[in-house]
C-alpha cells in the first residue's frame, strides 16, 4: 500500500472553508446582482442612493472620526505609559487595554446606557439633555471605549522600539525635539500609526451589536443597522437583495482599507524588532 500524501491533512479545513465560507459569499455575490432570478445592477444602484447612501456615509463618518481620534488619543496614552518609569502603572494600563480592547458588543452598550443614557448616573449629575448618548458624538464616545485601548496595544510595542540612541544621535547633530519627532520618530512610527488607524476603522465600521443594543439607529444612520433591518423585517419584501448589495459595498470598503494595512505591517516589523 502506498503512503497517502501528507497534504491530505489540509483537505478537511479546505472543504469546510469552501462550504461554510465560500457558499455564503457566493450567495451574497449572486444575490447582489440578481433580482427575481434575472441579472441586474438595480440592487447595487439602489444600495448607493437615498437612505442607503446616507447610512453608508454615516458609518464611514463615525468610523473615520473614531479611527482618527482614537489613534491620536491612544498614541498619547501609549507614549505616556511607555515613558513612565513605574512598571506597576505600565502593567496596569497594558492589562486594562487588553481587557477593554476585547470589551465590545452588547455589554459595552449597557455600560454607557447606565452612564450617559437618559436615566444614566452621570447624565443625571451633569443634567445632560435626553438623547445625548444616542447622537453622533455619543456613538463616537462609546466606540472610543474599545478603540483607544486597541490603539494603545498597537502603539506600545512600536514606541518601545524607538531607541534612545536615535534621539541622542539626532541631538548630537543639533536637532531640536521637533526635528527629532518630525524626521526620525514619526517616519519610523508611520506604518504602525496607519496600521492602527486601519484596524480602528475596520472594527468601528463592522460594529453592529453595540449600536443595535443602544438603539442608536433612529438618530445615527448606520449601514450595519440598515442591513439587519432589511434582513429581519417582513415588511420589506424584496429588500433582501438590496441588503446583499449593501453587504457587498461594505466588504469592498473594508477590503480596500485592509489592502493599505497589510503591506504597511510588513514595513513596521522590518524596522522595529
Amino acid at each position: 500500500m502506498r503512503r497517502s500524501p501528507g497534504w491530505l491533512g489540509t483537505l478537511p479545513l479546505l472543504a469546510f472553508y469552501a462550504f461554510v465560507f465560500g457558499i455564503p459569499l457566493a450567495a451574497l455575490l449572486a444575490g447582489a446582482f440578481t433580482s427575481r432570478g434575472e441579472p441586474t445592477l438595480a440592487n447595487v444602484r439602489q444600495s448607493l442612493e437615498g437612505g442607503n447612501l446616507t447610512a453608508m456615509a454615516g458609518s464611514v463618518q463615525v468610523s473615520a472620526v473614531v479611527a482618527l481620534s482614537g489613534a491620536v488619543l491612544g498614541t498619547f496614552l501609549a507614549y505616556a505609559v511607555v515613558t513612565s518609569r513605574s512598571t506597576a502603572l505600565r502593567n496596569a494600563v497594558l492589562t486594562a487595554s487588553g481587557v477593554l480592547a476585547n470589551f465590545g458588543g452588547v455589554p459595552l452598550a449597557f455600560f454607557w446606557v447606565a452612564t450617559l443614557g437618559n436615566s444614566g448616573v452621570v447624565s443625571g449629575l451633569l443634567g445632560l439633555p435626553s438623547g445625548s448618548l444616542y447622537s453622533f458624538w455619543g456613538l463616537v464616545i462609546v466606540y472610543l471605549y474599545f478603540s483607544v485601548p486597541l490603539m494603545v496595544l498597537v502603539m506600545a510595542p512600536a514606541l518601545d522600539g524607538l531607541r534612545p540612541q536615535w534621539r541622542e544621535a539626532a541631538a548630537n547633530n543639533g536637532a531640536t525635539a521637533w526635528h527629532y519627532w518630525r524626521y526620525v520618530a514619526l517616519p519610523v512610527l508611520t506604518p504602525a500609526l496607519l496600521g492602527g488607524v486601519v484596524l480602528l476603522f475596520g472594527s468601528a465600521f463592522a460594529a453592529y451589536a453595540t449600536a443595535a443594543a443602544m438603539g442608536a439607529g433612529t438618530v445615527v444612520p448606520l449601514v450595519t443597522l440598515k442591513i439587519a433591518n432589511a434582513l429581519t423585517s417582513d415588511v420589506l419584501i424584496g429588500q433582501e437583495n438590496v441588503a446583499l448589495a449593501l453587504s457587498l459595498d461594505m466588504i469592498v470598503i473594508a477590503g480596500l482599507v485592509m489592502l493599505i494595512y497589510l503591506p504597511l505591517q510588513r514595513r513596521t516589523t522590518r524596522w522595529l524588532q
Partner: protein, 283 residues
C-alpha cells in the same frame, strides 16, 4: 551582569534624562483614568442604587432566577465548547500538514485564514441566511433537506458553530502559527517517527504537549468571542447569552447592566488565563 552594574553605579547617580516638566503625562493619565473608570463606577452604582429602594444588591440575585438566564448561558457554553473542538480539529492537522509536507500551500493558507477579518460579521450572516433560504428551496426534494433543517435546530443550532468557526479562524490561525514557530516541527516528528512512534503517538505525546499554551490561548480567545457574539445569532434568530441580555434589557435594565459588568470580569479572567498560559511557556 549584576557585577558590572555594581561597578558602574557611582557613575549613573545623576538622572539619565534631563528633568523636564511631566505635567502632560499626569494630565493624560487623569483624563484616561476618568474616561475609562467613570463608566465602570457609574454602571456599578446603577445596578445597586435606585432612588426608590436605596442601596440593594437585588439585581445580582435576580440574575440567577431570571427567565432564560440558565438556558441562554448553557447554550452559549455548549456552542463555545463545540466551536473550540471543531476549529482545533480542522486547523491543527491542516497547519501541521502544510508545515511537514506542503510548504507551498502556506501563503494560500495564510490568505484564506485572514480573509474572514475583511468580511464584517453582518455581511457574512447576510450571505449565510440567504444561502440557508435558497438551500432549503433547492434541497427540498432531496434527503439533504432534513440535514439542513437539523443543522438549524433551535435546541442546539449547529449552524452557529459553523459560522463561529469561520469568525474565529483568523485568531486561532495566528495563535497556533505563533506556537508552531517556537518549535522545530519537522525535526521533532522525524525523531519521534524514527524511534518507532505511531502517528497518533506523535500527535498526542509530542506535538500537542509542545503546543499547550498556543492551544490554550486559541481556546480562550474562542470562548471569549463566542460568549460575546451577538450579530450572527441575533440575525439567524437564536438566543444565546448576548442576545438574551438585550431581550431582558427592556424590562429589567438593572439586570442587563449587572450582566455587562460580570462579562467584563469574565473577559479579564480569560485574558489572565491566556497570559499565565504564555508566561509559563517562557520559563
Amino acid at each position: 551582569m549584576a557585577a558590572v552594574t555594581g561597578l558602574e553605579q557611582p557613575l549613573v547617580t545623576a538622572p539619565a534624562r534631563p528633568a523636564r516638566p511631566r505635567a502632560w503625562r499626569a494630565a493624560v493619565f487623569v483624563i484616561a483614568g476618568l474616561y475609562f473608570l467613570v463608566p465602570l463606577g457609574a454602571s456599578l452604582w446603577y445596578t445597586v442604587y435606585t432612588p426608590t429602594t436605596g442601596l440593594s444588591f437585588e439585581p445580582y440575585a435576580e440574575l440567577l432566577t431570571a427567565e432564560g438566564f440558565a438556558s441562554s448561558l448553557s447554550l452559549s457554553l455548549a456552542l463555545a465548547l463545540a466551536t473550540i473542538a471543531l476549529v482545533l480539529l480542522l486547523t491543527l492537522p491542516a497547519m501541521l500538514a502544510v508545515r511537514l509536507f506542503a510548504p507551498g500551500l502556506r501563503p494560500l493558507m495564510e490568505v484564506l485564514c485572514t480573509l474572514p477579518l475583511v468580511v464584517p460579521p453582518i455581511t457574512y450572516v447576510a450571505g449565510l441566511s440567504t444561502s440557508l433560504r435558497v438551500g432549503a428551496d433547492v434541497l427540498a426534494p432531496t434527503p439533504f433537506w432534513a440535514t439542513l433543517i437539523a443543522v438549524q435546530d433551535p435546541g442546539f443550532p449547529v449552524v452557529l458553530v459553523l459560522a463561529y468557526v469561520v469568525l474565529v479562524l483568523p485568531f486561532v490561525y495566528r495563535s497556533l502559527d505563533a506556537g508552531l514557530r517556537t518549535m522545530d516541527v519537522r525535526t521533532l516528528v522525524e525523531a519521534a517517527r524514527s524511534l518507532g512512534a505511531s502517528w497518533p503517538h506523535v500527535m498526542f505525546r509530542v506535538i500537542i504537549p509542545n503546543l499547550r499554551s498556543a492551544l490554550a490561548s486559541a481556546s480562550f480567545l474562542t470562548l471569549a468571542l463566542v460568549f460575546g457574539e451577538f450579530t450572527v445569532s441575533r440575525l439567524l434568530g437564536y438566543q444565546p447569552f448576548a442576545v438574551w441580555i438585550v431581550t431582558i434589557s427592556g424590562s429589567r435594565g438593572q439586570v442587563s447592566v449587572a450582566v455587562s459588568i460580570l462579562s467584563l470580569l469574565l473577559i479579564w479572567l480569560l485574558l489572565l488565563a491566556v497570559s499565565t498560559a504564555f508566561g509559563r511557556e517562557k520559563k
